[in-house]
């Protein structure tokens, strides 16, 4: 190489370096001088206070902003902050040289820290003017990326709760795309003196954490959450936006939507799959080498949707079709139709996103149109919800109507359930146990021609997660002069969801239950009971009830005895105790260990009625001599029993149709004593009378009982 040429190249390099130096120095000086003006300009745009550590120019087209902090003007809480430790902005050199115009093309945020509560308030205060400002900017190709955002949802020192967020937004011509992932990790509270600097985490996931995050909150990461990846692509078209796709993908979630947004009209179609029993919510935190990190990046970069991604999902929403009019703060959902696990669902109504969020929705489910729904006789569910939220509590009034198709399951007794829930208040606190209060609830259950009404007032309902698939629902409420306490364990694991529950009734006024069960209108007393419900292997109830010191008035059975045998005292039975165990399923209702004790009559035994209305029962009735003395029919037999027998016992077996039961007077010592005193012809007369009594007028006589 000739020496002249070498010398030229050397000088050219020196001049270039000098130019770079000069340009860098000049621009850095200019930036330094104008830093306050730039910050002030930004501060005029927003209501809060922006502060910048320093700004630097890096040749040829990068501006670096370090330690930018956004804090509220009126709040001195150091936790309420948005911190941007490092921001780089790249502008177009060509635009700058040709038109002396600074057109930012790329902005990158590194490890920002966002306090959720503060940032939400900030957006409420400034969101609109920021959006207007961005929309006024000339439309240029632009890329905005955020890396390792730490979004702080922590409330209280003992509950560290952060979301890690990475995303890229870019706009090229008319195409907009947003891609990224959010991840919620598992943290435990760690005392300050034991907290390690997150920067030292070998996994590198928490790299770039601002020191105040862990130090202030004392959170220590225990496990990495499964990331929720999102991908949006849209195309500007005049006054609207075509939504090419919007995908949300997680191990247990797959959602894909597409549609358009023109003026106020949002049209969306799509589908979703959801696995509500994910095997693992968190992955183990383990050191990752550089090579492993590269492999992880390459795996994610491919972004294929696995073919079997839908196979293990237990909830799926298909054929989603949504048409809504968005006129902020109001959204009118004209229709939102989808198939939820093959059950057609329709939703329409209004949402209002003011300071007070409110919703007025009509939701309908049509299981009858589903081929796969297990409960074939469930016809339709209509639910009207009108509610509002102040951010802390969601209060709603609900009308729910459920109808059943008798033709599809004649054995199912319920034809309709209408429920009105007034003042149902949900506490919106993610750190507290989910709980609700019901001011007033009224449920009417129609079974055949009967209506059963159930009232609940001031009920408290709470839900606890005992394990990932086990929930505990607790209900406590005043109940007809007494108390109701219920506990239901909901197991959502495979193969089928399971419900187990117990309801305890304490000191309930039986007479007030007349609208729930008509027979209670004829009873007085205090009821204590326990009901156990289970859904596996089949829906069944069992339990026990006790009533003390009450009264039965004109009770059907005693009424029949009183009329038939002329025993007027049985029209009203003052009892010391009535108790029974019971079991119920779709095949039969059984009362076991029935016990009634009163001055005049004691009853013990079992009683069962099956789905065909057939009764099977053994009852032992003991009547006092005083009671039997009331009837001329029984008076003659009283002489048979001596003073040592205070009550005469009649054992009966009952069977047959509930409305016209067969009965047999079973052998017993007392029956033998009576039978010994009665001549055979009297027995036959009695039998004939009973036959006559039990043969209805219309019953054919041709195949009459054989005369003996």
């Amino acid at each position: 190489m000739p020496p002249f040429r070498n010398r030229f190249l050397s000088w050219a390099a020196i001049i270039l370096v000098l130019c770079v130096l000069v340009v860098s120095i000049v621009f850095n000086i200019l930036l330094g001088l104008n830093k306050s003006r730039i910050v002030n300009a930004a501060n005029t745009l927003i209501s809060d206070q922006l502060d910048v550590g320093y700004m630097a120019y890096v040749f040829p087209n990068i501006v670096v902003i370090k330690d930018a902090v956004l804090v509220p003007n009126d709040d001195l809480d150091p936790a309420r902050v948005v911190k941007l430790p490092a921001v780089t902005a790249e502008f177009s050199i060509l635009e700058f040289i040709l038109r002396q115009n600074v057109t930012v093309q790329k902005v990158k945020l590194y490890s920002p820290y966002i306090h959720h509560g503060y940032f939400s308030d900030f957006l409420k205060r400034n969101g609109k003017q920021l959006l207007d400002f961005l929309l006024r900017l000339p439309r240029v190709d632009f890329r905005f990326s955020v890396k390792d955002t730490l979004w702080d949802f922590t409330v209280g020192a003992g509950s560290p709760d952060y979301v890690q967020l990475n995303f890229v937004f870019w706009m090229k011509k008319d195409t907009i795309r947003v891609q990224g992932a959010a991840r919620k990790d598992k943290y435990v509270h760690a005392p300050k003196h034991k907290t390690r600097q997150p920067r030292e985490d070998p996994a590198g996931v928490s790299r770039g954490w601002p020191p105040w995050a862990s130090l202030a909150k004392g959170g220590q990461r225990q496990a990495a959450g499964l990331p929720l990846e999102f991908d949006f692509q849209g195309v500007w078209a005049g006054e609207g936006l075509f939504i090419d796709h919007l995908s949300l993908i997680r191990k247990n979630v797959y959602l894909k939507l597409w549609g358009s947004l023109f003026r106020e009209k949002l049209q969306l179609n799509g589908f979703a799959f959801l696995d509500t029993y994910p095997q693992e919510e968190y992955g183990t935190v383990k050191p990752v080498k550089q090579s492993g990190r590269i492999r992880e990046y390459l795996r994610k970069a491919q972004k294929p949707v696995p073919a079997g991604h839908f196979q293990d999902k237990d909830l799926y929403l298909m054929d989603m079709d949504c048409l809504a009019r968005i006129s902020p703060p109001r959204v009118d959902v004209e229709r939102l139709n989808f198939n939820f696990n093959d059950v057609p669902v329709t939703l329409k109504g209004r949402l209002l996103f003011n300071d007070l969020f409110s919703a007025d929705l009509d939701i309908g489910l049509d299981p009858a149109r589903s081929k796969n729904f297990a409960m074939k006789n469930l016809n339709e569910i209509r639910w009207h919800l009108a509610g509002a939220s102040d951010g802390k509590v969601f209060t709603s009034d609900n009308d729910i109507h459920v109808s059943f198709d008798k033709a599809k399951n004649p054995n199912f007794p319920v034809t309709k359930i209408d429920s009105t829930l007034k003042g149902l208040r949900f506490l919106l606190d993610q750190y507290a146990r989910p709980s609700a209060r019901l001011k007033r609830g009224e449920t009417t259950i129609a079974t055949g021609g009967n209506l059963h009404k159930l009232f609940l007032e001031n009920a408290v309902i709470s839900l606890s997660a005992l394990k990932s698939t086990l929930r505990l629902l607790e209900v406590k409420s005043p109940f007809y002069g007494g108390r109701l306490a219920g506990r239901f364990w909901l197991t959502t694991g495979r193969p089928v969801p399971k419900v187990d529950g117990t309801v305890v009734l304490n000191d309930v006024d039986v007479h007030q239950l007349d609208e729930l069960f008509l027979d209670f209108a004829k009873a007085e007393g205090r009821l204590f009971g326990r009901v156990h419900l289970t859904s596996v292997p089949r829906l069944s109830l069992d339990g026990q009830f006790d009533m003390h010191n009450g009264r039965l008035k004109n009770f059907a059975f005693f009424q029949w005895l009183a009329d038939t045998f002329n025993l007027p005292s049985l029209r009203q039975v003052d009892f010391r105790q009535v108790s029974s165990g019971f079991t119920a399923d779709l095949d039969a209702l059984k009362f076991k260990g029935i016990l009634l004790s009163s001055g005049n009559v004691n009853i013990s035994g079992d009683f069962a009625i099956d789905k065909n209305g057939l009764v099977a029962s053994y009852l032992s009735l003991a009547f006092s001599k005083k009671l039997l003395d009331e009837s001329a029919k029984f008076r003659p037999i009283l002489k048979i029993f001596g003073e040592d027998i205070p009550m005469v016992v009649f054992d009966f077996q009952l069977a047959g149709r509930q409305e016209a039961m067969n009965f047999q007077w079973m052998p017993s010592p007392h029956k033998n004593m009576i039978q010994e005193r009665i001549p055979n012809f009297v027995e036959r007369i009695i039998e004939r009378r009973i036959d006559k009594m039990m043969t209805p007028a219309e019953q054919p006589q041709a195949a009459a009982p054989q005369k003996e």
């Binding site: 065909n612 047999q664 027995e683 039990m694 054919p700 041709a702 195949a703």
Partner: protein, 174 residues
Amino acid sequence: MRMRVWIILTGWLLFVPASGYAGEVDALYAKALQAARAGRVDFVFMYCNQIDREYPRSRYREQVLFAKGEYFYELPAHALAKEAFEKVLEEYPQSPAKLFVLSYLHKIAEAEGKAESIERFRKEILTLRQVGLVFKETKEYNYSSPFYRSYRAVFYIDKVEFYRGGELFAAVSQ
């Protein structure tokens, strides 16, 4: 006088064929009973079938249908037997043979393995009559068919037993 002659003549024309019709059915039914007494069941069926085919509104229709049902059940031609017995239930809901018709239908349903029908007829049999047993343990009902078969139903508190010609034919329990 002339008017009276016309009235008598018209009446004669109306009633004579009718009595002839009734007489023919009676004769056929009498033949059927005679054949039944002689144990010629095929002839019984033949006469009953003729009555059913040619005089579908005769006063013997109920017995004829039951007899056809019995005959077809014995062949066995369960579908035809079922058809005949169901006609008895449909056209003569108060028939004295109803209980035994139900017992046949229950047996046919059992033979065909139709659980729903078995359950339906079981319930109908158990609830057809209400029995009250004070000193006795059973109640009995009897019926004689055109085939001169004696039927007996024994009602227990929760069970019915059917005897045909003295032999246990069916039992239905709750």
